[in-house]
Symmetry: C2
Subunit: 248 residues, 2 copies
């Protein structure tokens, strides 16, 4: 089957480093789902605001810009040809040195590189195009684990009576799901408070590849026009500096 | 993106009529997910039995048989060209006469005709091919809302900490989710008990198109080699007869 891109995700994750490993209901991180012209039809969204949560079905491919916006050049964009899969993968949360079957993981390196995320719906609205040429429909959602520019193939309402299994057994992912790092408090007056809140949320989830555990090592993460440099000592994040960067 | 079929669903639903409208955790209906040769690799399933639930990502297209099995000819198979979508659809549970936006429904008539179902995993195992030419890996699952022969594009583990939102608000689907019909007790000694149990489950969910409410009308549903003829009086199912049919 040939999938057509119906929308692109737009958010502060211009860098693969820092994207949460799964979508999370408590995430403050906002993503705009910007519909392509053919699907940007008011009627197609009738009733959608009655749902608190949605499913996004999306592609792990190299992100593209939507028409009318400049091509992003920053960030570590990754091209995943769909031929490139392996029967086993090394989940980062298992330390990156234990192999699991690809169908027992959410790894991107699958036979078909499609991703699945549940997100909170905040609002559905039309937004004028920057050049005054009409408008595009958008959904504002929170909790998406997506790179900026990710292509979206489908949006479905979340139905709790068929999609929610709170007692599901999570296999090897169970033991590794719940821990948070602490952050050493420090002032970064030049960073807007909402961006700073997102950065703190991302760092608390421990964005490091799990096979690194070197307290001297400095990590760099780009988010929403800022480059965050940090170290991790035991279970504590030390932000070294935050610099403004060019994203367009 | 071009999706490759990795497996086909095999179950008693040779007929579109009777397929549950969503996957249901309490369903007794079993489906075998039979992997195509290229994906039928023992290692790809390592760790999968640690999960109680899985996601299936599948296609609403005309089903095909897998290699080595006869083409199914019974049932109302439906071809859905992906060009065939409309911004609004008429959900059967709303009586079939109220239009909702396609992104607020799980309708098959979407820009990309992909479906999403959570199922219970019972077992992963290799099974010999009928002609003695090697084996194929299969997953046995329950609760799938799929037509026999449905192509499968991806299998993912269900992660309760990111996928389960028991308090999600279900929009217009909320009011219509929970009711069951009663079944008038009658003996059908020639039908195997496990098939009879599935048939009773399907009938209790009310498989009628919602815009029909004629107690004289006889409905026909094919399931697992049997044709079930029934009527509905008020909230009660009356099974008129069950006949054996040829499915291959």
């Amino acid at each position: 089957m040939e999938l057509k891109v119906i929308a692109y995700a737009r958010n502060g994750h211009t860098d693969k480093f820092g994207i949460p490993r799964q979508s999370r209901a408590d995430s403050p991180i906002l993503t705009r789902i910007v519909f392509e012209e053919d699907y940007s039809i008011r009627e197609a969204f009738r009733g959608i605001e009655g749902y608190s949560h949605l499913w996004l079905i999306w592609g792990f491919e190299e992100p593209s810009s939507r028409e009318g916006e400049k091509q992003k050049t920053s960030g570590i964009h990754h091209k995943l040809p769909t031929e490139d899969w392996s029967p086993t993968v090394r989940p980062p949360r298992l330390g990156g040195n234990k192999r699991m079957g690809v169908f027992a993981t959410r790894s991107p390196f699958r036979p078909n590189s499609i991703g699945l995320s549940s997100v909170k719906l905040i609002k559905a609205y039309p937004r004028p195009l920057p050049d005054g040429k009409g408008e595009r429909w958008e959904l504002l959602v929170s909790g998406a684990d997506l790179l900026d520019g990710t292509p979206i193939y489908d949006i479905k309402p979340y139905l709790s009576y068929s999609d929610s299994h709170p007692d599901a057994i999570n296999g090897f992912a169970a033991e590794t799901a719940n821990y948070e790092l602490q952050i050493e408090e420090k002032e970064f007056a030049e960073v807007p408070e909402n961006v700073m809140e997102d950065i703190r949320y991302i760092l608390r989830q421990d964005p490091r590849p799990a096979y690194h555990d070197d307290c001297e090592r400095e990590y760099k993460m780009d988010y929403s026009g800022w480059r965050v440099v940090f170290r991790v000592e035991e279970m504590k994040i030390i932000i070294v500096r935050i610099e403004h960067i060019e994203t367009n």
